[in-house]
């Protein structure tokens, strides 16, 4: 009794196919998990920096192998994703699996950074690292934008810009109705803020005084085809948010330590939602990608992947060195 079910005799319909696998990375990403309980700030920062760098190492190889992706905006948001999943949020693979009502919620509104999310989920133990090799492949659960029906840890399907914030407002309202202290986090692109749906939700969140809601904007100053300032300028962005009833915190969004501190101070003002204005670089930290609009969805060649890995390995080495020095 379903409307227009598949034609039975249609020989072309083959639903039970298995998927192809992308070429393997140089090494599979390690499940680093959360910052250990009781870690010092320096230890936490080192853990998160390492995780973020590993995520970037893996993600750039995925894009290279799949021949598609949005690497620039994935690299700018990686630090925020890793900081949230591995430290700030009250969340764990078990809580997700059991749908613990008290888990913190997160929505990646700039859903085109899916690969960064998937890789962060792998490093955090939410999905199997090997699954990353199915990115974009037929019947994979890892399509180009996160689907909540395919991955338990994804709280909301995103992709069309301007959807995440209203959903997050709903999550925060649900928490308040439950009398719960759980928090809701949402990650937005800066170009994305041109969508009016966001301003509806900014207004509602301010009016409703949702101070357990935290929105971070990945202020990388670039959108798909050009600089945000040349397309439809957002400035003065902080003033806009203040006029919509939000407390604004500015931070270096590619510095996990700064992000940790910013999130620790939430809510930044009681009775107000917090807007983390995270200054980032698209393509961070890879030299040939940084702040270049072409890398919104350009696909790195094999040489470019290798170059990125060299630069990222240098970052890993510097983290090792710093740890030795401080320990």
């Amino acid at each position: 009794m379903s409307t227009l079910a598949p034609l039975e005799k249609n020989a072309g319909l083959v639903h039970a196919v298995e998927t192809t696998l992308l070429a393997a990375p140089d090494r599979e990403i390690e499940v680093l998990g959360r910052v250990p309980a009781g870690a010092s700030r320096a230890e936490a920062v080192a853990h998160l920096r390492r995780a973020a760098t590993e995520v970037r190492r893996r993600a750039v190889q995925t894009v290279g192998a799949a021949g598609a992706g949005h690497i620039g905006g994935e690299f700018s948001i990686t630090d925020a994703l890793v900081t949230l999943y591995l430290s700030v949020m009250n969340i764990s693979p078990a809580q997700v699996e059991e749908r613990d009502p008290e888990r913190d919620r997160i929505v990646l509104s700039k859903g085109h950074a899916a690969n960064a999310l998937y890789t962060t989920l792998a490093v955090g133990g939410y999905i199997a690292p090997e699954a990353l090799r199915t990115f974009l492949q037929p019947t994979s659960m890892l399509n180009g934008h996160p689907a909540r029906t395919k991955i338990h840890a994804v709280e909301a399907s995103t992709g069309p810009l301007g959807h995440g914030l209203p959903i997050a407002v709903g999550m925060a309202l649900a928490a308040r109705l439950d009398g719960s202290d759980r928090r809701t986090f949402v990650l937005l692109g800066d170009g994305e803020l041109q969508e009016g749906s966001n301003w509806e939700a900014f207004m509602t969140a301010g009016h409703q005084r949702l101070d357990r809601l935290v929105a971070l904007v990945d202020r990388n100053r670039l959108q798909q085809g050009a600089r945000v300032a040349d397309t439809n300028d957002l400035e003065p962005l902080a003033d806009k948010l203040r006029a919509f009833g939000w407390e604004v915190v500015e931070v270096d969004g590619n510095d996990v330590g700064a992000l940790l501190d910013a999130y620790a101070g939430v809510p930044a003002a009681s009775g107000k939602p917090t807007f983390v204005l995270a200054h980032t670089d698209k393509g961070f930290p890879v030299s040939y990608m940084r702040d270049d609009v072409a890398w919104h969805h350009k696909v790195p060649s094999a040489e470019q992947v290798a170059q990125a890995l060299t630069e990222l390995d240098a970052v890993l080495a510097s983290i090792d060195t710093e740890e030795e020095v401080t320990s």
Binding site: M1, T3, S157, P166, A174, A175, L177, S197, E200, T204
Partner: protein
């Protein structure tokens, strides 16, 4: 400009007419009393959704986002994520047209347990003009996989559908009309989603109606009976999933099907046509709005004007027998 507009065909005088919004309002309050997960989300539409009483009783659980339909539907999805059962209630025209991508992505693709209540749908806001008509909703929403679309035809069915929607886990769109309708279903009627209801047996021709047009189809069947034509009348509360079997049986057992809807004929009419050609080709005539924006006029007047008066329906049915 003189007064030459024919009056709407008079309904039998003894009929009591109801506003299904009253039934919706009473039932959503009843459901909310029993299940504290139930919340309503509105776009400055407390009054037009008749939720004034609900808001008094459940102020926390009445979320008025103001005039912001995208926000409203997104918030519905977020509330569902938090385990709530949100009933998002707004004029059908704005709910569907303004929040189409939120309905597609946030609710239906995401399989969030959100109930979308399309208030005053069809041409209920007849004289407010086509911007306020929600006659595309059936056609637009039935392209979306996995959503259930229901148009109850009387107060009792409205209540049953609201209760069912609260229980059902998944996206639902319900039309709640303000057009006056009499009780159409029997006292012991039970709404079954996806199931047509045979209100009148008959093997000459089949009238398939939904929502506010069901009573008109019954009246048309009376007119046809007077002419010796036995019309089967199927109420089709669920537009999606459609009761394919009932449609196929009608195509097989009667000489043709007339669909009648307060909507573009690509809605119920389109759904029926597609099942018919794929299963048992047979003649279908679809009444509703056909590729034109409606002129100014009240809902009743517009339905009559577009061939959905009882005699208009009967005349169309006759063409299938001719």
């Amino acid at each position: 400009m003189t007064s030459t507009v024919p009056a709407a065909e008079a309904a039998p005088a003894e009929r009591t007419l109801f506003d299904c919004r009253d039934s919706w309002a009473a039932t959503i309050a009843e459901v909310a009393r029993a299940d504290e997960r139930v919340v309503v989300v509105v776009n400055d539409s407390v009054g037009s959704s008749k939720l004034g009483g609900f808001q008094k009783e459940f102020p926390q659980r009445t979320i008025n986002v103001g005039i912001a339909e995208q926000d409203m539907v997104g918030i519905g999805a977020g509330l569902a994520n938090g385990g709530k059962v949100p009933f998002v209630s707004a004029a059908g025209c704005f709910l569907t047209a303004r929040a189409m991508e939120q309905i597609k992505a946030d609710v239906v693709y995401s399989q969030y347990n959100v109930k979308l209540i399309g208030q005053s749908p069809g041409v209920a806001y007849g004289d407010l003009g086509p911007t306020h008509h929600s006659i595309e909703d059936f056609s637009w929403l039935r392209t979306l996989p996995g959503i259930t679309i229901v148009a109850p035809s009387d107060p009792d069915e409205t209540a049953q559908v609201v209760r069912w929607a609260a229980e059902h886990d998944g996206p639902v769109y319900v039309r709640v009309s303000r057009m006056g309708v009499p009780a159409v279903h029997a006292e012991d009627y039970t709404f079954v989603p996806g199931r047509a209801v045979t209100l009148r047996e008959g093997d000459d021709v089949t009238l398939v109606a939904t929502g506010t047009t069901v009573v008109r189809a019954l009246d048309a069947a009376d007119l046809l009976a007077a002419d010796g034509v036995a019309a089967r009348v199927l109420a089709m509360p669920t537009i999606k999933p459609l009761d394919d079997d009932a449609v196929i049986a009608a195509a097989r057992e009667t000489r043709g099907i007339v669909t009648i809807e307060e909507a573009m004929v690509t809605g119920l009419g389109g759904a029926v046509a597609q099942v018919v050609v794929e299963n048992h080709p047979a003649p279908v005539r679809s009444l509703g709005f056909r590729d034109e924006f409606a002129v100014t006029g009240s809902a009743e007047w517009l339905l009559d004007h577009h061939g959905m008066s009882p005699s208009g329906i009967a005349t169309t049915a006759q063409t299938l027998l001719g």
